[in-house]
């Protein structure tokens, strides 16, 4: 069992007997459609969740008029944004201006390809999955930079430049901290990384060794920064740069930026879960004969963990003030990168001396001896 796209492909071949290439194309297209709309819904849901969480934190209520508890607020926002006039400033670079939001969305949504929701449900289990996820999300910076430049607005430009510097810098500690994980598993495939972990906390890479323990915080911080979330939201700092790179965007195009940001929250949270918290791994007694039920439990487990992290992201967003741009760079280049190197060394020596066993396993081994 490789992944659902192949399953679907086999299903089509068996039942309809059409050309192999065509069937592959159809099945991948269908799967892509499902996953994209899933992420779209998740993005929309997150906007609603963010407003409700913010309301709770700020002793307000938040949207509660549209639908039960305001759950359809995202639909209202979506309808409105679609119906808005599509405004392009007269002096904007029109092709670039039009293209930028799509690049952002593509960058974020493509990362979903390698994210395994369960042992079976993954669009493509690439053997360079980690590299792919880290690389493709960087496409967002292209979109942001493009949009900010094309807007022909100084506030946008400042936001775009800040964003570029920030994302490019924070890519390094993020990659270095993931490297610790890769070092342990010896594989860049997401499924391999998850399979190397277990369902219980002591089997997670988070508790594997001191190196990975610290590496998680570095990864999470850098991921937040890559996603332009508070306390690293300097590219769209509204009290400084009006609205940063999306100052000139309106209606649908703005909603793409918006959606990309929230989808990215989901992506980074799920990556954190995959790398450090055992992904979809469930305890043995929950694995039943029925394949579908097992998968559903796995998905639920994965989504639950992911939403815990999403909540933490939102919580941070409404608690902390933002850093200044030079403090941000200082933090990255002077602290996070050296520390992530140290983490890498610790993990490497752990792997070297204890043969990849986790900290707890080693400890228990010592006691039982």
């Amino acid at each position: 069992m490789n992944n659902i796209a192949i399953t679907l492909h086999n299903f089509i071949i068996e039942n309809f007997g059409i050309d192999i290439n065509l069937s592959l194309a159809i099945s991948y297209f269908l799967i892509a459609l499902i996953f994209w709309s899933f992420l779209g819904v998740i993005g929309g849901l997150l906007t609603f969740l963010e407003r409700r969480v913010a309301g709770r934190i700020q002793s307000r209520i938040g949207p509660n008029r549209v639908g039960p508890q305001g759950i359809f607020q995202m639909l209202a926002d979506g309808i409105k944004l679609v119906l808005k006039e599509d405004l392009i400033p007269a002096l904007a670079d029109k092709p670039l201006f039009r293209m930028a939001p799509y690049l952002c969305v593509i960058g974020v949504f493509s990362a979903l390809v390698v994210i395994p929701f369960s042992s079976d449900i993954v669009v493509a289990d690439l053997n360079v999955g980690v590299l792919y996820a880290l690389a493709i999300t960087t496409m967002v910076v292209m979109g942001i930079l493009m949009g900010s430049w094309a807007s022909n607005n100084k506030w946008s430009l400042l936001g775009g430049l800040r964003s570029a510097a920030q994302i490019v810098s924070y890519e390094i500690p993020a990659a270095l901290s993931v490297l610790s994980i890769v070092l342990i598993t010896g594989s860049l495939s997401m499924q391999d990384i998850i399979r190397a972990q277990g369902a219980w906390p002591h089997q997670w890479f988070f508790f594997h060794n001191p190196g990975t323990f610290v590496a998680f915080f570095i990864f999470f911080t850098s991921a937040l920064a890559e996603n332009n979330r508070v306390p690293f939201d300097i590219p769209e700092a509204e009290s400084e740069l009006v609205a940063g790179y999306n100052t000139e965007y309106s209606g649908m195009r703005f909603s793409f930026f918006f959606l990309a940001e929230f989808a990215n929250v989901f992506i980074i949270s799920s990556l954190a879960v995959i790398f450090f918290f055992g992904g979809w791994q469930i305890p043995h007694f929950l694995i039943s004969e029925n394949h579908i039920i097992t998968n559903i439990i796995m998905i639920a487990n994965f989504l639950f963990k992911t939403f815990v992290f999403i909540f933490i992201v939102l919580w941070l967003r409404w608690t902390l003030p933002r850093l200044r741009v030079d403090q941000l760079m200082t933090m990255c280049w002077k602290y996070l990168i050296p520390i992530s190197f140290i983490c890498l060394c610790i993990t490497a020596s752990f792997v070297l001396f204890f043969g990849g066993k986790s900290m707890i396993a080693v400890f228990i081994g010592r006691i039982t001896q």
């Binding site: 938040g62 949207p63 008029r65 607020q73 209202a76 209606g251």
Partner: protein, 185 residues
Amino acid sequence: MEKRDHIETREEYRTKENEVQEWSAYQKLSDNVLFTSLDKILNLGRANSLWYLLFGTACCAIELMQTGGPRADLDRFGSVFRPTPRQCDLIIIAGTVTLKMASRIKILYDQMPEPKYVISMGSCANCGGLFDLGYSVLRGIDKVIPVDVYVPGCPPRPEALTEGLLVLQQKVKNEKFLVKEKKSI
């Protein structure tokens, strides 16, 4: 002094209202059912997502802040503030508008994408209010941009502004969106 041309007498207003009603009745017949019900859904969406511009000119700005705050909480009705006019549906003119500021507000209004709405908040924005005696205050924002809802008060309480927003939502819900009519300024 001669009458302002855009203030209508009550009789004039009534006849206009009748005309509108007749027109909409006619429109109802001629529209097909699908369009009207689609219109309803779209308007429901638009009415519940009126994002306003983070912008206040004077005293009312503080009440605007407090309306967005914990006690009144405009977010309940789906209204959040956006810092840039490009992403706004609604501009709340919160406070006195001076002659120096008037042209800037016109620019802000022009920068907003259609469909856009204006709430004039407080006496100063409605008609100059207390500062009618001054030399530098615009006597009513409606001299510069069209206004949808007037909220009286100096400054209006958060409840008043919330009511103003609800009235605007009602107006949005009753609009015809798919069958376009030109907005007259």
